[in-house]
């Protein structure tokens, strides 16, 4: 290294110095526990896939009524077929 690239950037240096990281307790692992990691991955918080559908009152109402309407239509169809 011939010269310090931060020589003229003391402010950047001082800012970088403020970035501290807390080191957690990390046990040394001697065996791979793929199953544990898979379970932990499955258990990690994830986005709700139907979040956009229930974000407003109207959409929530729609989600609740669609199965009822669907069931009614299916029942009607069956009744019509039997007749």
């Amino acid at each position: 290294m011939n010269q310090d690239p931060f020589k003229n950037d003391q402010f950047i240096k001082s800012k970088l110095d403020e970035y501290h990281v807390e080191i957690p307790d990390i046990p040394i692992r001697t065996k791979t526990k793929r199953w544990d990691r898979f379970i932990s991955y499955l258990g990690s918080p994830a986005k709700n896939p139907i979040e956009p559908a229930v974000s407003t009152t109207n959409r929530l109402l729609l989600v609740k009524t669609v199965p009822l309407v669907g069931a009614a239509v299916l029942t009607l169809l069956q009744v019509l077929v039997l007749i």
Binding site: M1, F6, K15, L16, Y19, V21, P24, I26, K47
Partner: protein, 179 residues
């Protein structure tokens, strides 16, 4: 310390398991902070540290002290594991987007947020270089080995990274100067 680390590694290569514990105590922190500053993901960083040390144990005889420091060898292993994990994660997230974990909100002092955000906003290629160069005192040659890029590219990317950091922190600098 570097010679000491290499000596411990030589002892570990000769079957001294206590030497591995010494190496682990000294190097787990630096490796974790590098990965954490790069990814800002605590669990991923812990996994990478553990995987890197497992790989070091498995391939202990591949380390050659004549080729460099143990520290840079371990960082090279850790960096490759991290990139593999991130790529794998991106692939899964593109297939199953609803399994994407929610980003964790962290509360820190305003000034620390600024530098954290500025570092996080750096392009990957610049972020890794600035972290290795500034926080871990790696030489251009060591960075070139860890990232598998030419030495000349390391030099130019350091300057670009500093320039980008200045741009990111630009408003902050102007504010502090005007006070």
């Amino acid at each position: 310390m570097s010679n000491q680390e290499n000596e411990w590694m030589a002892a570990f290569q000769n079957g001294d398991s206590d030497a591995l514990e010494k190496i682990y105590l000294v190097l787990k922190g630096p490796l974790y902070s590098f990965i954490f500053r790069y990814t800002r993901d605590e669990q991923l960083s812990i996994d990478v540290v553990q995987d890197a040390f497992m790989k070091l144990q498995r391939n202990k005889h591949q380390f050659n002290p004549e080729k460099g420091r143990l520290r840079s060898y371990l960082f090279q292993i850790g960096y490759r594991i991290m990139i593999d994990k991130l790529n794998r994660r991106k692939k899964w997230q593109s297939i199953l987007p609803f399994l994407t974990p929610l980003p964790k909100e962290e509360l820190h002092q305003a000034d620390r947020m600024t530098i954290r955000e500025a570092v996080a906003r750096l392009p990957d290629i610049h972020r890794s270089i600035i972290l290795l160069f500034y926080y871990h005192d790696m030489t251009h040659e060591e960075i070139s080995g860890i990232l598998d890029i030419p030495k000349g590219t390391v030099k130019s990317r350091i300057h670009h990274a500093i320039k980008k950091l200045k741009e990111e922190l630009g408003e902050d600098i102007n504010e502090s100067r005007s006070l």
